[in-house]
């Protein structure tokens, strides 16, 4: 028997009266992989995730999780998955500890075997009412509850919202370890940078449709970065950069050169050798720009 995929959808469609539906989504996530579901807010990421957990029902196509049908075998799926919703709330005035106990009590078996370790790692505040915690500290409890029973598949909706960078790093390590032990992680994000950090493969969704599924490496090759260069000799820099294929949209503003780089930085760095570079600032293009680059890419190939 071939091992079943962690997540597999076939032409999954959810027509949803509050908009944000998904249309004809086909993806396959093998076990042992971190899959990043990337798209702007409202693209349908949450809809897809909630359909995997039977909170929403497909209106077309089908989804299977850990080889089980998302509707028929939902109870079994939910026992073997962990889930962090986009907005993590707990009932009433429960403290972190009470909330984690309560959520574990909704599962079969020893559903909190990894709790202590996770609590230590994230420095979770257990004894105050969750409601009184900051967004970031609440989110940490959300992460602990999603992982505490060591599930085969963890589904996380925008998991790093509100987390400070150190905690984000710890989270990324946790995700890597989880898949290294043969489990799988399915997470959504609207940040390309984050997904690049943690995912093996990325599915990009826009307006309810999958635009592309590719490895992070391939995405990075195509990824667009915006660069601000502060340099002594602006014109020399402009000349040298202008001859590089990967550089586009160049403009000069005072002692700054602004441009976009697609793919590798290698030729840019080589071209700037010997110039008096004062500062070099590079940031990932936002998702919209990535989409534009993707569309441009597909037109180029035609």
């Amino acid at each position: 028997m071939t091992p079943t995929a962690a997540v597999r959808t076939e032409s999954l469609t959810v027509a949803y009266r509050h908009g944000r539906g998904i249309n004809d989504v086909t993806i396959e996530v093998p076990r042992g992989e971190v899959f990043g579901f990337l798209g702007p807010n409202g693209a349908g990421k949450t809809t897809a995730i909630r359909t995997l957990l039977d909170l929403l029902r497909p209106t077309g196509g089908s989804a299977s999780v850990l080889g089980l049908d998302s509707v028929v075998d939902s109870l079994e799926i939910r026992n073997r998955c962990g889930y962090l919703p986009g907005e993590f709330v707990v009932p009433g005035q429960l403290t972190g500890r009470e909330a984690l106990d309560w959520l574990a009590s909704l599962r079969r078996g020893n559903a909190s075997r990894r709790r202590n370790e996770l609590v230590d790692r994230f420095g979770v505040e257990l004894d105050r009412p969750v409601r009184q915690l900051s967004k970031g500290n609440r989110q940490k409890i959300g992460l602990v509850q999603a992982f505490q029973h060591d599930p085969e598949l963890v589904i996380l909706d925008e998991p790093t919202t509100g987390l400070d960078p150190l905690v984000q790093d710890e989270f990324h390590r946790l995700v890597r370890e989880h898949v290294d032990r043969g489990h799988s992680v399915f997470l959504s994000s609207h940040s390309l940078d984050e997904v690049q950090h943690v995912a093996d493969r990325v599915g990009i969704i826009r307006e309810g449709r999958i635009v592309t599924v590719e490895t992070v490496e391939a995405l990075r090759q195509r990824g667009l970065r915006r660069v601000t260069l502060v340099v002594g000799d602006v014109f020399a820099a402009q000349n040298r950069l202008g001859s590089i294929d990967a550089v586009s949209e160049m403009q000069v503003r005072g002692d700054q050169v602004l441009f976009a780089v697609r793919g590798s930085f290698e030729p840019v760095i080589a071209a700037l050798a010997g110039l008096e570079v004062i500062d070099l600032l590079s940031r990932a293009a936002d998702l919209d720009e990535v989409f534009l680059a993707l569309y441009r890419g597909s037109e180029d190939r035609r």
């Binding site: 959810v14 949803y16 509050h18 944000r20 949450t46 809809t47 909630r50 957990l53 039977d54 909170l55 929403l56 029902r57 109870l75 079994e76 939910r78 026992n79 998955c81 889930y83 919703p85 986009g86 907005e87 993590f88 709330v89 707990v90 009932p91 009433g92 005035q93 309560w102 959520l103 009590s105 909704l106 599962r107 079969r108 078996g109 559903a111």
Partner: protein, 267 residues
Amino acid sequence: MSRFPVFTQELRDRRKSLMWWSVGVAAWIVIVSMMYPTIRNASGISQLVEQYPKNVLAIFGVSDMDFSSGSGYLAGELFGFVIPLLVLMLTVGAGGAIIAGAEERGLLDLVLAHPVRRRRVLLESAALIVVLALAFGLVTLVSLLAMDPIVSLKLSLINLLGTVAGVVLLGIVFGWLALVVGALSGSRGRALAVAGSVAAVAYLASSLAQLVDALRPARLLSPFWYATSGSPLLAGYTWWYALVLLGMALAVILVGVIGFDRRALRN
């Protein structure tokens, strides 16, 4: 795995508010009972009440106003209107909050992402409403039994039990209605609006049916008719009416079990 996690958690959440409810209801009953000796001895009041148009009295749940006995006084002052209103506030409020309220806060998503059947969430919530209604009934019963010797209400225990049973069942019917409307719509506002307006119409259908012949058949659909009509504190409760109320409540829950399972949860 705890046996009734949803029920246990909701009950824990409501312990404090339930306690304050009990204090309030008991206090109201004590005050109304304390006024009884004064009203019994003020001979003018019965005549005054008799001068009211009958339909005005009926709207306040009083068909035969009789202040000469403790039962008659309480039937008018408590069980005609105030006690049914209070029990509905308690159970309908909870019914709207438990599922629809949790859904609106995003909590239902989290619970149902665990291996918990929707049916189970609904039934445990329904059980919680039963507990709230029973607690209300118990407080009412104990308060009146405590006041009885003090102001010599001379209540019949069996009639009092029947009256309270009717109130408890009334609370369950409408609490479950709010619960189910909330579970089907995902909207607490809609749950409260539907249960509240159905209760208002049912109340009028039951009380005015005694006066308006055209409405007489409608009373048979009203839970109030089976719960509070005919001053059960005076005349005794028609016990098989309890079965009718139970049937209504079960029908409502059945609709909920079927409908809740099929629905997409709101985000």
